[in-house]
């Protein structure tokens, strides 16, 4: 798999996401939540999962349907997405033009001891997204490819799916707020002006 040539997520995720203020953000648990908590400094427009594995994409869909004038970005990992690949079918059928998904694929369940995931053993989540009917997809395997993907996330009528393949370097560390009720209130107050 030539993993050593894949980019470090600490460099590639910020490049693909670009300015996080361009989106309402939902981040799946573990690595992706750490990536996005660090990148956004837990800004009000980001909601990070700490559990409920498999729920990030459908939560992003609910948000995208509720806020059709805003761009919604789901950032999640290969393990989280593998747990509920059917959510790509929902997204494809509902076809919200304002929803983009970035799957940060390190091929491992890093949080639980770095066991190999299915994507390191032949499963290609971009093809799965395509097979579900998502028309605009990309696989990014180098820092050079990040910028084009970042543009597609912003400027293409979605749904858009970007598979960002990264090496096994860990996500950024740091404390974060695990109180989802408080994060929900912060998010809604900033977006809607009400808790």
């Amino acid at each position: 798999m030539a993993q050593e040539k894949l980019p470090d997520r600490k460099i590639a995720v910020p490049k693909v996401v670009g300015d996080p203020n361009d989106f309402l953000i939902v981040a799946g648990l573990a690595g992706s939540a750490k990536d996005m908590a660090h990148l956004t400094q837990e800004a009000p427009n980001a909601f990070m999962f700490g559990g409920a594995m498999g729920g990030a994409v459908s939560m992003g869909l609910g948000l995208a349907l509720a806020q059709p004038k805003k761009k919604v970005l789901v950032v999640t990992g290969d393990g989280e997405l593998l747990m509920n690949m059917g959510s790509l079918a929902l997204v494809s059928v509902a076809s919200p033009p304002n929803l983009s998904i970035v799957c940060v694929d390190n091929g491992h369940y890093q949080e639980t001891g770095n066991q190999e995931s299915h994507t390191n053993l032949g499963v290609d989540l971009e093809k799965i997204a395509q097979g579900n009917g998502i028309a605009v997809t990309r696989t990014v395997k180098s820092v050079e490819e990040c910028e084009e993907a970042s543009t597609v996330l912003r400027n293409t009528n979605g749904p858009v799916f970007v598979l960002l393949r990264v090496n096994e370097e860990p996500p950024p560390k740091g404390p974060r707020n695990w109180d989802a009720a408080e994060r929900k209130t912060i998010f809604r107050r900033a977006l809607l002006g009400t808790a």
């Binding site: 459908s58 869909l61 609910g62 509920n84 959510s87 929902l90 059928v93 994060r183 929900k184």
Partner: protein, 175 residues
């Protein structure tokens, strides 16, 4: 039988109208015969999103996302689908998200399919263990009262609420 089916159509239409009047704009579901009228109403309604799920837990996190964005969502599922949602209910508790689901019961009063019995028995205890408040409805005249109570508890008190449409209400499917 003709009278009973005409009556059941009336309460399901009333239920749909009550939910829509309360501002519900997203209906998500794994199809079930007990929810057929609501599903068809949502599909025919240009004012709402009618979302086919592949597994019921998607409707749980979808409801949380809808609330983040200021919309109201309802999940329609069969009792067997509750088993597919259990871990996702933790999102609702930790986030104190409003959540309203309608459960068409199988495996209870008069069930003739043995495969439904176990999850039918487990449906309410499992939901209560995960913090959902359960309201059972056995007769058509109670559905609107139950729905108004459930809407208030969910969307004003940030509770997770399940309205169980029992087989006394829906009738048992014959095998």
């Amino acid at each position: 039988m003709a009278d009973k089916s005409a009556g059941s159509t009336a309460w399901q239409d009333q239920l749909y109208d009550t939910l829509k009047d309360a501002g519900v704009s997203i209906f998500s579901y794994v199809p079930d015969a007990g929810h057929k009228i609501l599903i068809n109403r949502s599909l025919a309604d240009p004012d709402v999103h009618s979302i086919r799920l592949t597994t019921e837990e998607e409707g749980v996190s979808l409801a949380a996302g809808a609330h983040l964005g200021g919309a109201k969502s309802v999940l329609l599922m069969q009792s067997s689908g509750v088993g597919n949602c259990v871990n996702m209910f933790s999102l609702m508790e930790n986030g104190r998200f409003p959540f309203l689901t309608y459960i068409s019961m199988r495996g209870d009063f008069g069930e003739e399919n043995p495969w439904q019995i176990a999850m039918g028995r487990g449906t309410q205890p499992v939901m209560e263990a995960m913090g959902l408040k359960c309201i059972r409805v056995d007769s058509p005249e109670d559905i609107i009262t139950a729905t108004k109570a459930a809407l208030g508890m969910a969307f004003k008190s940030n509770c997770a609420v399940a309205v169980l449409l029992t087989q006394k209400l829906l009738g048992a499917k014959g095998f």
